[in-house]
Chain length 191, copies 2
């Protein structure tokens, strides 16, 4: 561990946003999972959440490359448990959906505790999850194709959150409480 | 061809942006190419450009699913030819790069003729292409990982262009000249 690396780790940790996350429902393709975790890392997500990320393979296998190293991934047994967990932590949960009545994603405030619920490549967010979410948002599309790639949709919304959080000064001082900061720092220094 | 489908096709065509495009330099992975063309379709790109999209396989094989159907892909023999072609059409070419001195993508105006140059998964935009481009832009990253997935970077910038073009009213009336509009309409109606 060089001094430069330690400084870099601390710099990144000081910008982590414990109140911004994603919840992936049945997002199975490794390249999508990997791309989403890379975007999460870039906007400061500390821990991402998933239900059934490997399509039924019970042990989570490392498919997400380097990004998975720096974004914790918490796997929940089912969508109710996952949403219950996030709600208890105070998150507002926005389902991303192609519904006509879903709100334009640019009209939503992401500076408060926000979890973005993303759905499976084939089926989208389940009706059950949609019903449990606090709201539904969409990225406007003007083309012939019905939906975006899931990692693209995630990124477009996450970087809008980054834009808002930059403006609100949320990357300027540490957002993790000192105890959690220390715990994560020790873990990262071992990587 | 139902009347509803024809109406949908015309509605999409009226929003096509002939002066917004991407130039893909050695973007080989089919899932990235596919995701990029899907995003292009959603923001109104009429024709995308590529150099060596299949990693040396001489015939272009259909890897991009439905999106490829609605976004023309023009393959150029090399990067100079591609950039020369776009420049002749009046495009400003922005290389996307992880350079420290690349401009923040949010500070750039995408309402004029704009081509986004995107690089290979492994190597990024070539030095040759960077030197030929009009400017370099980057998406700010605050994490440990060095770069975004190429389809993610493309989408984040394309949807910023969409945001600016919405604001500028560029989706409100047809942007294709009547002759081109008619030609594309006839082609699309046959699909
Ligand atoms: C390929 S889409 C699923 C398509 C599925 N046929 C449906 O109707 O929902 C996979 C996921 O990407 C996200 N997504 C795709 N396009 C989106 C858009 N325009 N706005 C918001 N989320 C989108 C959603 O999370 C969606 O569940
Ligand atoms: C995986 S990156 C290439 C990484 C390569 N090692 C490099 O240093 O350029 C693939 C492409 O995605 C785009 N890209 C990735 N992250 C970006 C960012 N933060 N800003 C702008 N473009 C980015 C660029 O077009 C880049 O060439």
């Amino acid at each position: 561990m060089t001094e430069a690396r330690r400084r870099r780790i601390e710099e990144v940790l000081r910008r982590r946003q414990p109140d911004l996350t994603v919840l992936l429902e049945n997002v199975h393709k490794p390249h999508n999972l990997s791309a989403i975790l890379r975007s999460c890392d870039a906007v400061g997500v500390l821990e991402a959440h998933a239900v059934n990320p490997t399509g039924g393979v019970p042990t989570f296998n490392e498919t997400s490359g380097g990004s998975h190293k720096w974004v914790y991934l918490r796997v929940h047994s089912d969508i109710q448990t996952a949403i219950g967990h996030l709600r208890e932590l105070g998150f507002r949960i926005y389902a991303t959906a192609l519904w006509e009545d879903a709100q334009d994603f640019r009209e939503v405030d992401y500076t408060g505790p926000t979890a973005l619920l993303l759905g499976a490549e084939k089926w989208g967010v389940s009706e059950e999850a949609l019903a449990l979410a606090d709201g539904a948002i969409q990225v406007p599309m003007f083309g012939m194709v019905q939906s975006l790639n899931v990692s693209v949709a995630a990124a477009v919304i996450l970087f809008e959150a980054q834009r808002q959080r930059l403006k609100a000064g949320l990357y300027e001082k540490p957002r993790l409480d000192p105890e959690l900061y220390q715990k994560v720092l020790e873990d990262w220094l071992r990587k």
